[in-house]
Symmetry: C2
Amino acid sequence: MRLSELSAETGVSTASLKFYLRESLLEPGEPRTRTQADYGPAHVERVRLIRALVESGGLSLAQVRRVIEALDSPTVPRHELLGVAQDALTDGTAYDEDPDWTAAAVAFVEHRDWRIRDGDVLLPQLGSQLKALADTCGVGGASTLDRWADAAEAIAAGDLETLTDDDEQALRTAIVGTVLSDRVLQTLRRLAQQNLTATLLERAGAERQTNKAGPDSLR
Amino acid sequence: MRLSELSAETGVSTASLKFYLRESLLEPGEPRTRTQADYGPAHVERVRLIRALVESGGLSLAQVRRVIEALDSPTVPRHELLGVAQDALTDGTAYDEDPDWTAAAVAFVEHRDWRIRDGDVLLPQLGSQLKALADTCGVGGASTLDRWADAAEAIAAGDLETLTDDDEQALRTAIVGTVLSDRVLQTLRRLAQQNLTATLLERAGAERQTNKAGPDSLR
């Protein structure tokens, strides 16, 4: 198909497609004439992936590039899949490393009996995030952290299950699934907050009703 | 303190501070001379907040502005706290609304018995995220979604508990706590993935050892 047809098929503007081509995120099409190229199903799939990563996943262009490079690299051994996915998704932010908070993160991981690569970038990252939480709103005490870690373990167990099915798709699932489902989880958390607030409000209302009924019925 | 001292106190460059002032994210200091102003503890706190939202929370400038406006607005009734927080954190992405997937999101929320505002922007957002997951890697079946929703409920219950303590800080905690702890949860999920991978690998290694010992011991 032509570029205009690729655009129609994926809903991505030709301007964006040309940008992806220029940035080598998308492979050039098969040359057809001097000014036209032919695009196939692999292009459609790649464009949909880039779009999902940028729009739904909120990734930067640099992150999309790392993800694409990882996906295009020769087969990654299965036990390194999540590591490669994690590296590709590293957000490249230069975290202010605070030794005390990194130590706190390491201590927490040890408290959970989690086996983490020595010197993993996730540890100072966690430390810096915990510091930001403590500095700005005093949230993130030990019991909260444990609750979050319980939730993270349950989710990670599911992540690993999804990897056992199809070798071909495994890295793609590890990377794309993780980044997109991070967003799904954020949305579900907000929905669950809303539901709980509604439930608590109704309960408070019912209690007020009961309290009001009390004295009235005594009259 | 002077601007240079505010910079030293917060670790944020004077160029960034001037940018915050120009963008009205930071209130002007008390004028001291014609070219100098005086900054106090409220400025230090505000600068730390902006920095945490941008650096650890990954918020855009537009989102930081909405968060600041919400925090500066007159007292928000307690039962609207999370709603205001959620509105401030809306990422402003124009989600491709797909009626079928929005309907799927609504059906899921009903299946969970969650009470969500009619027409809430979170529903098409969830639909679009689920569509992206399904399109790109076929993840997000019913059992996975239920597992995530269980985790989201556990986390949201904790979110609401943190709000019951201090009225003054409640909105700040609702907004800042949610955005920063989203990141903490992402990091914890990756750490938990790494731990599980290490555990599974070790188990697989141990099984290989056992299998090897078998035939050898028969010889």
